[in-house]
């Protein structure tokens, strides 16, 4: 057996970059344990009792914020949500000032979302507690990639050797970047499909196969991950029209026929039905695992908060010692 470090030694979770396969396995294994707790009638444990988690969101979010809030609360932590208004001109000032202010209140973990790539890392340099990246610009969204991995692992039993096709607005997507890093680390085969205007420069250097034809990209895929068209990040026109985009890059029954019959359909949400995904497919309970993703998101975030606060709790047990 290969070398396996016994504990998760990272101080923050700022990205998938830098995580080893064992780190990822550890998060997923622990998250698996927390799924049961979330499904039971009494959903709470006291693992994080007495600890404070602050969700600091500089960018609008409902599902990620709710997911982190539930995760913290189910672990018994005191959770505070701070939605910081995004005044465009003083964004950065607010970021560092807010970080210092919050730090003075001795939180144990900060979950941060920000519209600028690298902003969470910048903030992490200014605080003493654990920082979880809840999504920064077009850079990374590590808990999304982890929950996607858990969803796949629970359905397919593995990640290694699977063909995963990521479709849509790859250019602006932090979800795509984190997933590419994670899936490559775990030995999956990753493809990206997008119109060339929404494909990042030199994306092939991240170890993916690049397609502009969706049927070719979907051929024999085990998983298809659809991405939302992020019009709010676009300056200028990247596709001629929604109609044309859906025609060539929207997920339909007909295009999906190229994938394996048991291909799973994933979407990080929020979905734009009729833009990147046909409603019928999104609701296909046999293949769409979109709601699984939401459920497992809470478990993954519990695992992350648990692992990152172990040092300060003086608990270095391997797997959910207090579960």
């Amino acid at each position: 057996m290969e070398f396996q470090p016994s504990s998760f030694t990272h101080r923050h979770l700022l990205g998938i970059e830098g995580l080893s396969p064992w780190d990822i396995e550890k998060v997923l294994d622990l998250a698996d344990n927390y799924v049961g707790l979330s499904r039971s009638r009494h959903k709470k444990t006291d693992v994080l009792r007495g600890l404070t988690v602050i969700n600091l969101f500089f960018e609008n979010s409902t599902r990620t914020l709710t997911s982190f809030e539930l995760a913290g609360k189910r672990l018994g932590a005191d959770v505070i949500n701070m939605a910081v208004a995004n005044s465009s001109i003083k964004k950065g000032e607010t970021l560092i000032d807010t970080a210092m202010t919050l730090n003075a209140m001795h939180p144990d973990a900060l979950v941060v979302r920000h519209s600028d790539s690298g902003a969470v890392k910048l903030l992490a340099q200014k605080v003493n507690c654990a920082v979880v990246n809840g999504g920064d610009g077009s850079h990374e969204h590590p808990t999304q990639a982890l929950l996607d991995a858990l969803t796949i692992r629970r359905r397919k039993g593995r990640l290694e050797g699977l063909t995963v096709t990521i479709c849509g607005d790859v250019l602006h997507s932090r979800v795509a970047r984190s997933n590419i890093l994670l899936l490559n680390t775990m030995g999956a085969r990753v493809r990206v499909v997008a119109p060339p205007t929404l494909m990042p420069a030199a994306i092939d250097r991240m170890g993916v196969e690049v397609y502009t034809n969706m049927r070719e990209g979907l051929k024999d895929a085990d998983i298809v991950m659809m991405l939302r068209l992020q019009t709010e990040r676009m300056q200028g026109q990247y596709v001629p029209s929604i109609r044309e985009y859906f025609h060539f890059f929207g997920l339909t029954e007909e295009k999906l026929a190229a994938a394996k019959p048991d291909c799973l359909i994933m979407h990080p949400g929020p979905m734009n039905r009729g833009v990147e995904i046909d409603s019928v497919i999104a609701d296909d309970i046999n293949r769409s695992v979109i709601l699984d993703q939401v459920e497992l998101g809470v478990a993954v975030r519990m695992a992350v908060l648990d692992l990152l606060t172990r040092d300060r709790r003086g608990d270095n047990d391997d797997l959910g010692g207090k579960l």
């Binding site: 950065g92 000032e93 920000h114 600028d116 610009g137 970047r177 990042p200 420069a201 030199a202 250097r205």
Partner: protein
Amino acid sequence: MAERRTAYINAHLIDPASGLDAAGALLVEGTKIADVGPGLFAEGVPEGIETVDCAGAHLVPGLIDMRVQACDPGFEHKETIATASAAAVAGGITSIVTLPNTEPVIDDVAGLEFIARRARETKLAKVYAYGAVTAGLEGKELAEIGLLKEAGAVGFTDGTRAIADAGVMARALKYAKAFGALIIQHPEEPRLAGGVMNSGELSTRLGLPGIATQAEIIMVERDLRLAEMTGGRIHISHISTWAAVEAIRAAKARGIAVTCDTAPPYFALVEADIGDYRTFLKLSPPLRSDFDRRAVVEGLADGTIDAIASDHNPQDQDSKRLPFVQAEFGAVGLETLLPVALELVHGEHLDLKTLIRRLSTTPAELLGIPGGKLKPGAPADLLVFDPFSPWKVDAATFRSKSKNSPFDGRPVAGRALRTIIDGRLVYSAS
């Protein structure tokens, strides 16, 4: 009363203009160089002449920095003429040329006179100024190029903005010809330059919008055509790409009146140095690949790139301690110009004489300003330096008001020992 005379003896003299590269001495009389050469004072220095023993250090014409933002007037919290001048002389620079992107913009004679007055008050480095090509740097209507030239503007540029409209650029080149005025362009097609770093694998990994090298090359190629069409003189600033070096090399071979410069970041750093979003390395043009960096070094070696400027662009903490996308572009460079440029010599890409040509002689010739040579009758703007003494860049000790150096902490070799302007000692290393 006789003018004060100072003899600099035991010096290693380098003068690119005359080809001099030998041990010798130099005599300053008043504000001018009176005599220079290997045999001078071989018999000893006569009575009544003050003697400075250079102890084998190099004595060269003071550096002439043709691209400096002094932020004065308008942004005095970042830099002033006084602090920029102090930083310049500490870096061995005796003349600086300031960009017109101040507040107000230097697009009329009053603006030029303001800078001249500030420089006189400071009495450190000689300060020259570029005038704006277009009124308000808006890229639309020509500024008063003739009047500005008459009042002392040494060249014309819209600073950190490219003159994007080809029609305006063609007219500027044509019109400036009548006054022998040089047009200096920031080479970047603005519609392709919406990003914050070089476009490629790294920008993709960091999730940052990229600027393709084509943004530079398209503007360079366009301007070369316009220079050819109009017969005007164009100078292209801070070349950063292989393709631009190639295009200028070919244009020079065709006989087009083009010159260009680059700055230390473009031959000493690459995009990978940005690492984890280091905003001090957010520059315009952006840092490029190592392939481009090596092409810049080659361009400097073969003379395609005529000059090296510091591209000094001071930014305060509030402008840089931000997420990468929001941070301002630019880096200070006055106090690291010499040691970082010397890396080209230590790396055996250029000899010392060629380097001093790029840092002093050529900029003086291009802009028609005094200095840049060790010649009797020339102003005694001199630099005594040791190209080998090792030190570590420490931005906290900079005289510049802003400390945004991409070279902070870098081990370097070579520094100014004495800087002399018009015969007057204005800086001496402690």
